[in-house]
């Protein structure tokens, strides 16, 4: 029972953190940048690992956040050099990810960092990797780190909500008003890096992309207000975590994989049946208009 609880809580924390940030990525048409960051933080994690020789999550977070910002910076550099944006993203993140793979495979004997675990995560082990302070068992470490990350994300987005909103909608006006658009851009990217690292141990570098994009894209179809979109994104993510977990238990399959599959199914439902932007609603509206004019 506790086992179920910790896994669903971990999944929900991943979903909430990614879901909030994902909304801004989707609205700024930067979903692929989220994908890029989640992969290219790998060398940062590996280097932090080699330097400290331990799975000290704080240092790994710093290493990954730095790599995340470098990723965004490099992508922009290539774009300004005249390369297409999708090609820039593809080049930067695969190159950095590949370096990460080399670093980890070369040091695999010395360090306790498993490539499979980095890529796909192992949320089932969450319960046993506990945080111990002064000999007290404080509960699963992942829950702590994810919880702190969620609080940081909530605090930053809450404090600067109007800036993030106007930078997403109309960056030209934002800049003209004196809002430091570049600062908020990198702040958002830094938060995405942070949440990726906090999540990668439980869901892995690949599936966290699903949590960044899918619930946010689902929420986008369900509402016309940004604040509600953020809320729906978190709810869809939480529902995917719980639903995906029981689905995985029933199938005896990968938990993280099932969670993202559940998110994908929820997206499909919204895509088809959303009263605002769903395919069915649009189709029936067109039919109604046709029969009115006929």
């Amino acid at each position: 029972m506790m086992f179920d609880f910790w896994i669903i809580l971990t999944g929900t924390l991943v979903a909430a953190t990614s879901g909030i940030l994902g909304c801004f990525l989707v609205l700024r048409k930067m979903s692929l940048v989220g994908d890029a960051i989640s992969h290219s933080v790998l060398p940062g994690i590996a280097i932090a690992f080699m330097v400290s020789g331990s799975r000290d999550s704080l240092l790994m977070m710093v290493g990954a956040a730095v790599l995340g910002l470098i990723t965004v910076f490099l992508i922009q550099l290539l774009q300004q050099g005249g390369l297409q944006s999708d090609a820039s993203i593809g080049i930067v993140f695969t190159a950095l990810f590949a370096i990460g793979v080399i670093l980890i495979s070369r040091n695999a004997a010395n360090i306790d960092l498993d490539l499979d675990c980095v890529l796909f995560g192992e949320i089932a082990y969450v319960q046993w990797d506990t945080l111990i302070i002064n000999g007290y068992d404080m509960g699963p470490a992942a829950v702590w780190f994810l919880g702190i990350t969620l609080l940081i994300v909530l605090a930053v987005i809450g404090l600067f909500y109007k800036q993030f909103k106007i930078c997403a909608f109309d960056p030209a006006l934002a800049a003209a008003l004196g809002i430091p658009v570049a600062l908020f851009h990198y702040l958002l990217m830094g938060l995405v890096s942070l949440s990726t690292v906090a999540s990668f141990e439980s869901v892995g570098a690949i599936l966290v992309v699903g949590m960044l994009i899918v619930p946010a894209a689902t929420a986008y179809l369900l509402t016309d207000r940004l604040s509600i979109m953020l809320l729906y994104s978190v709810l869809v993510g939480a529902l995917s975590s719980a639903g995906g977990y029981y689905f995985a238990k029933w199938l005896d399959a990968s938990i993280a994989g099932s969670m993202i599959t559940a998110a994908g199914l929820l997206f499909l439902l919204a895509f088809l049946f959303s009263p605002l932007h769903g395919l069915v609603a649009r189709f029936s509206k067109r039919r109604r208009m046709k029969s009115m004019t006929a």
Binding site: G82, I166, F169
Partner: protein, 252 residues
């Protein structure tokens, strides 16, 4: 405020090393409606963006009421081109207008009842009060343009920059914009409008600024909007130039 609303000295702007604007210098008189005219690629929008600090200057100096723009942001209102934003963004008309107040709110204050009141008031001035709660993608092009104008009004500025507010709008919106421009002028405000339709220039603007990579001419519409100047601005590209400019001048 004895200084000019806008003073541009030797402004040069380049896109990836290709100069778009070369050594443009002019001063804008206070309380006028000014049309910024020129062919496509003449650097009209570029000039606006460079003045607002949205594009880096290669060279030159810009002063707003005698000081650098960075110190005078609250005196300046900006209406970007309508196509520059994604109208599918999940927000409504009132919310967009409230964004005009963000510059006055500082870093941490959230828009509250006062901003709401101002935004509703501004929506009313452009005839859009009934659409305050409407999702912005549900508005027509003209209505979207009026929302942008209301947002600029909410900035409560002294000097306004408008980038093609008349582009692709319906007659109602065109009328609403003109009414608004005159109201701003009566309040002693200065408005720079990037404009394309040469047939309405004489009717709308007191002053014109003719651009073609460099400044061709600047001055009162009467003295500056002449067939000779238009020929120099547009070259042979518009055969109808004669009709727009010459006829009314001859009639006067």
């Amino acid at each position: 405020m004895n200084s000019y609303p806008l003073e541009v000295q030797n402004l040069t702007v380049a896109y990836q090393k290709k100069p778009v604007l070369r050594s443009v210098s002019f001063q804008i008189p206070s309380g006028k409606l000014i049309g910024v005219l020129g062919p496509n690629g003449a650097g009209k929008s570029t000039m606006l963006k460079a003045v607002l600090g949205l594009l880096p200057k290669v060279d030159g100096e810009v002063k707003i009421f005698g000081k650098p723009y960075q110190e005078q942001r609250k005196l300046v209102g900006y209406v970007p081109q309508r196509e520059s934003v994604d109208w599918d963004f999940p927000t409504n008309a009132l919310d967009v207008v409230m964004m005009g107040r963000y510059g006055h709110l500082g870093w941490f204050r959230r828009p509250g009842a006062e901003e709401r009141r101002i935004a509703l008031d501004c929506l009313g001035k452009v005839g859009m009060a009934d659409f305050a709660g409407r999702q912005i993608s549900q508005l027509s092009g003209g209505q979207q343009q009026r929302v942008f104008l209301a947002r600029a009004l909410a900035q409560n500025a002294q000097l306004y920059f408008m980038d093609e507010p008349f582009a692709g709008v319906d007659a109602t919106t065109e009328k609403a914009i003109i009414g608004l421009l005159h109201e701003l002028k009566e309040q002693g405000k200065t408005v720079l409008v990037v404009h394309h339709d040469l047939s309405t220039v004489k009717e709308y603007f007191d002053h014109v600024l003719l651009l073609n990579g460099e400044l061709v001419a600047e001055g009162t519409t009467e003295d500056t909007f002449t067939p000779q100047n238009l020929q120099r601005t547009y070259g042979g590209r518009i055969a109808m130039i004669q009709d727009f400019a010459a006829v009314p001048i001859e009639m006067e």
